[in-house]
Amino acid sequence: MFLRPNLYTSYEAEVQILPTYTKKVLAAIGIILLLLIPFDIPLITSATDLPLLRNIPVISNGIPPLRFLGDNSWLRVLDEALIFGIAALGINILTGMAGQVSLGHAFFMGVGAYSGAVLGGVSTSSVWGWNLPIWIWLPGAGIGAALVGIVVSPVAVRLRGLYLAIVTLGLVFLGIHMSNTTWGRHIAGDPGLGRDFPKYDIRLWKEEAPLITINDDGKWFGFLDVTDNQKKYLFLAVLFLVFILLAKNVARTRTGRALQAIRDRDIAAEVMGVPEFKYKLIAFATSSFFAGIAGALFASFAGKLPASQFSLALSVEFIAILLIGGVGTVSGTVMGTFFVVLTPKFVESFTEWLADKTDGGGVSAKLAEVVISTGPGNQGPISSAIQTPGYPLNVFDWNLVLYGVLIILFLIFEPLGLYGIWIKIRNYWKRWPFSY
């Protein structure tokens, strides 16, 4: 079956998570890369520890083209991508698979974040917290959000299409308002400063020294010398893989098939014996569960957040992830997440690099000055000054404008998203040399 990717001899073979050898190999490489990205310093402390591993250059020196990703600041962005990935997988179940457009994902993330904070946070005079260990508060965050999802779903099931989208948008505003009430403040803390969230450290119960530290420097298991940033990354990477597996499994079970049937033609699905209400409720609950976990991870990662962070802009970001990645597929969602979260950082580095070029001389400076305006002499659209009395805009505003334009262009030119591009590339090489 190695060169016959579309030949399946049984249903079991077709619904495997990784149905072909190519996919298995690619997935294995992907997982190894994912886990090795943070290591651009020697992983093993001294040469006497496991000398065999130490001689593998990838481990001692990092993966050459991806090495810069191991920087602390890049690791932070990657961490965020992993957290957003979990939430995006959730909205993919609701919007991509079940076809229920939701602009309320930020609300469910917030519910998760604050469920987690109440369960795992430290209580003070102004906020509640039970200081429970992570194996309770993290799942608790997911379950809390799922319960709220179940409460909301009877309303949501009655609504269709854009009506549902706007109502879920209303949830975001209701959520931020609730955090501002007297009782909401005991959960969400001060509206300006926010509250402290529990840390990732893994404890058995409330003991002083954690079983596995994730927030502080120090060796793991006595010999793995990893920094706090690398620890957080690895912790999130493992969770991310677990949730990919979960999402994949939702897609290929009875539930997943039922959801897709409802998306494609809900009345036909009901005629065939798929109870619409039950499965939409399951979709809401599952999606909220993912959102809740991601929300708790997100909040805990920041350490301290005001409730206004769970805003409409966050919801919109997930819709963008879904559309840019390609609606309805797990791999598309993952690609979309990394694209949407990492692109700003790449572009920021790019504009910084471009601005540096204008200082030099020669051809590169001339080219850079087409884009960057440094003074009255040249009129590029981007001003290198911070305060601009009008046109041209400063770099930071352009970054936002270009983000909006990017979404528009992407959807106009590739409505199927990154997943669509991937399919085109794959088909090109499948037919090669007879492709056109």
């Binding site: 009655r158 269709r160 009345i267 919109v316 909006g404 990017l406």
Partner: protein, 357 residues
């Protein structure tokens, strides 16, 4: 238009009846105890409702023609009112005014100030319409036939881009629109009524009457046909592109008019554009949904209901802030919308989607 056939077995009718009866009892009590405050509150809520209705009407027009919900309505409102500000306060032509200054020719002429203001606003609205056409041509037209969800997200992208440009133009300033009525008004007992309340109501009334007649014109009928079935309309020889363009142009004009009144009392006391004008349009979305996405009379009624609910809740529940939470008027529109949709899932006048197997 829906007929008033009361049916006691229908829960939505009972809810509607109880709201009407409850409102009547409350109104009677308040009129008896504080008629001046009640009257100003009523006028204020009608004015706010008119602002919402104007913005909602633009959204509905666009939706009816293109089946796209325009999330950029707020940003378009802000850009539109900036155009007005360019024309009347800076005395420059808009759009070009972002980059170079070309004087507004109207202010070179003689005549009373308010006529010049009025003409300048009309010219600014024409520029707003051009902006709508431009957006339609560049971002919406290429998406004909693509999933509607994708087009809706395109408008979200537009919202981000336009709003950053607009905010950057406003900066720290409050850009005045120099409305001829200023922030003046008159007192009714202890209450105060701004002239701008009436300006907003009159503008909304004119806009709705204009749309009402437009839908009876040849082009309006074509637009309704397109709303009904794009392919069938095309087969009848209707130029869908032109219908789209007109809808977006009209949507942008209505957004700019809504934006103009979003800088006036009761929404703002400054009579100037600042960076949160666009947020008013987000509060108009519940009005659109409550009235029904594809209904013109729904936009009017939805806007008025949402505006009334917001102002009345603000006026008469202010003693309950302790348990409602401060800033509760902000979520009243959404609350009203959710209650409304529980009773009527397609809004008050929305056409239920026909579901086929």
């Amino acid at each position: 238009m829906a007929k008033l056939n009361f049916d006691a077995s229908e829960p939505s009718h009972l809810v509607g009846l109880s709201i009407v009866v409850g409102g009547a009892i409350f109104s009677a009590y308040e009129l008896a105890t504080g008629a001046d405050i009640y009257a100003t509150t009523l006028l204020k809520s009608l004015a706010l409702g008119s602002v919402y209705a104007l913005i909602a009407l633009g959204t509905v027009l666009i939706f009816k023609a293109t089946e796209v919900i325009n999330f950029a309505q707020g940003a378009m409102a802000m850009v539109g009112v900036l155009f007005i500000s360019f024309m009347v306060a800076d005395g420059n032509l808009p759009i070009v005014g972002f980059f170079w200054e070309i004087p507004n020719p109207i202010y070179e002429l003689g005549g009373p100030e308010w006529i010049k203001w009025f003409l300048s606003v009309i010219v600014a609205l024409v520029f707003a319409a051009l902006l709508g056409l431009l957006i339609e041509r560049l971002a919406i037209r290429p998406m004909i036939g693509e999933p509607l969800f994708s087009v809706a997200v395109i408008t979200l992208g537009l919202e981000i881009a336009l709003r950053v440009l607009a905010n950057d133009t406003v900066k720290i300033n409050f850009r005045s629109v120099d409305a001829p009525w200023g922030n003046g008004g008159f007192n009714i007992g202890d209450g105060f009524v701004n002239w701008s309340y009436f300006a907003a109501m009159i503008t909304a009334a004119i806009a709705f009457v204009a749309v009402f007649f437009f839908y009876r014109s040849r082009m309006g009928i074509a637009m309704r046909a397109v709303a009904h079935d794009q392919e069938a309309a095309m087969a009848q020889g209707i130029n869908i592109g032109r219908v789209f363009a007109i809808a977006w142009g009209a949507g942008a004009v209505l957004a700019a008019m809504g934006g103009l009144f979003a800088t006036q009392p009761p929404v703002k006391q400054t009579g100037a554009v600042d960076t949160d004008v666009a947020l008013v349009a987000f509060r108009a979305l519940p009005a659109v949904i409550l009235g029904g996405l594809d209904s013109v009379q729904g936009a009017l009624l939805g806007g008025l209901i949402v505006g009334t609910a917001e102002i009345y809740a603000g006026q008469y529940l202010s003693g309950q802030t302790a348990w409602l939470g401060s800033g509760y008027p902000l979520i009243v529109p959404y609350f009203v919308m959710i209650i409304g949709l529980l009773v009527r899932p397609y809004g008050l006048f929305g056409t239920p989607e026909i579901r086929r197997v």
